[in-house]
């Protein structure tokens, strides 16, 4: 059984479970829409200020939605007491981690598919293609880090507190490069995000073995 096949099987299992239980996705979609509605009423927006504020709102929503999506990745396994059975298979902890990170990233991408048109509808701002690409690239790296910390946090009592404390500071570079993608330095910012993704995925993959199975 190859690494990729095991990781895809884990990702598929998580996505099928989410599709049937509808535990995370509807709540996150609702959060996205509510955040946009609150923004609409909280700021005195005109066409000029909306354009300046919208990218910041987008990144804040992505960060907080990410905390929920990635936090559930391992919390569900912990609640179902199923993680041990997973780790007893020859798939190995890194393939399990990769699969769960893929599924969590897909769930966040689905939320972003609500967010991007939502920004256009509620704030009247159409995000340019580099911004959308930056959000998608940042999601991948954030998923790798977020799921790693989620795996770590579920082993503690204060997991809801630990995940934001660990993940948010290390997600800042994704926001920095992501925001830069909107300021006319799009290609360079996207290249930086890609490099950051590769670095984070490799490091998280190496660390996952120790976090999950030691």
């Amino acid at each position: 059984m190859t690494f990729a096949a095991c990781a895809l099987a884990v990702a598929r299992k998580d996505l099928v479970s989410e599709w049937r239980s509808r535990e995370v996705l509807p709540a996150l979609a609702q959060f996205v829409l509510l955040a946009l509605v609150v923004t609409l009423f909280a700021f005195d927006l005109d066409s000029a200020s909306a354009g300046r504020i919208a990218p910041g709102v987008v990144w804040l929503v992505v960060l907080f939605a990410g905390l929920v999506a990635f936090g559930r990745a391992f919390a569900a396994e912990k609640e179902q007491a199923s993680l041990e059975a997973l780790l007893m298979t020859p798939a190995g902890p890194v393939a399990v981690f990769a699969g769960k990170a893929l599924a969590a990233a897909a769930i966040l991408l689905a939320c972003e598919a609500v967010l991007v048109p939502g920004v256009s509808v509620f704030l009247g701002v159409s995000l340019p293609a580099p911004a959308i690409a930056a959000i998608a690239l940042a999601t991948l790296g954030m998923a790798a880090l977020g799921c790693l910390f989620s795996a770590l946090a579920v082993q503690t009592r204060a997991r809801e507190l630990l995940l934001p404390v660990l993940a948010l500071p290390l997600w800042i570079p994704f926001v920095v490069y992501g925001a830069a993608a909107l300021t006319g330095r799009g290609p360079q910012a996207l290249a930086n995000l890609l490099a950051l993704d590769i670095l984070v995925v490799v490091v998280a993959g190496l660390a996952a073995r120790f976090v999950l199975d030691e």
Partner: protein, 188 residues
């Protein structure tokens, strides 16, 4: 333990039964001492040992939104087994009628049978079971003995009758220490 031997670990709550079984199943590492399984150091060669071990924790650990068949097929994929093995194991455990039902809708006893089926998918040589009898009916308990077959079996239980049914040697733990080793026949 000799190959094919059956051992029942008994003892009160907090005696250390689950800890001992988790060590044997390689899901926990010993803080000190040495554990050898099949002649291999269990702490260092877990990846080699795990395909030879079937582990059932105290909780079934199933995916509630997946059907009984999907639960097993998923683990077949991770074990590199054909999916048809899932159906075979469901039939073996007497839960073939529940194939299309989500695990969440099964009774606790049926969930336990499904979890037992999962632990047997890869036909392990060593079967480690943490109180599987807590939600099994009389038929399910008889089934345990049949399924154990020639495997080496270590089972934690509060039920000495079950140990007798299995023909298992009793090992009693108290506060993490072995205090009694008796043949179940002597105890009877």
């Amino acid at each position: 333990m000799a190959a094919g031997e059956r051992v029942a670990v008994v003892g009160g709550n907090g005696a250390g039964k689950t800890t001992l079984l988790r060590l044997l199943a390689t899901v926990a590492r010993p803080d000190s001492g040495e554990l050898r399984l099949f002649g291999l150091d269990a702490a260092r060669r877990r990846a080699e040992l795990r395909p030879r071990i079937g582990w059932l924790a105290h909780q079934p650990g199933l995916y509630p939104a997946l059907t009984a068949l999907e639960n097993l097929e998923f683990f077949c994929t991770l074990h590199g087994l054909p999916r048809s093995r899932a159906g075979e194991c469901l039939a073996l455990l007497g839960v073939a009628a529940d194939t299309r039902r989500p695990a969440a809708e099964l009774s606790r006893g049926r969930q336990q049978r499904l979890a037992l089926a999962r632990s047997l998918l890869h036909d392990p040589e060593l079967w480690v079971l943490d109180e599987p009898d807590s939600s099994l009916d009389a038929e399910g308990r008889q089934l345990l003995s049949r399924l154990a077959g020639d495997r080496t079996l270590v089972i934690a239980t509060h039920d000495r009758e079950l140990a007798a049914t299995l023909g298992a040697r009793l090992v009693e733990l108290r506060e993490g220490r072995l205090v009694d080793r008796e043949s179940v026949r002597v105890l009877k």
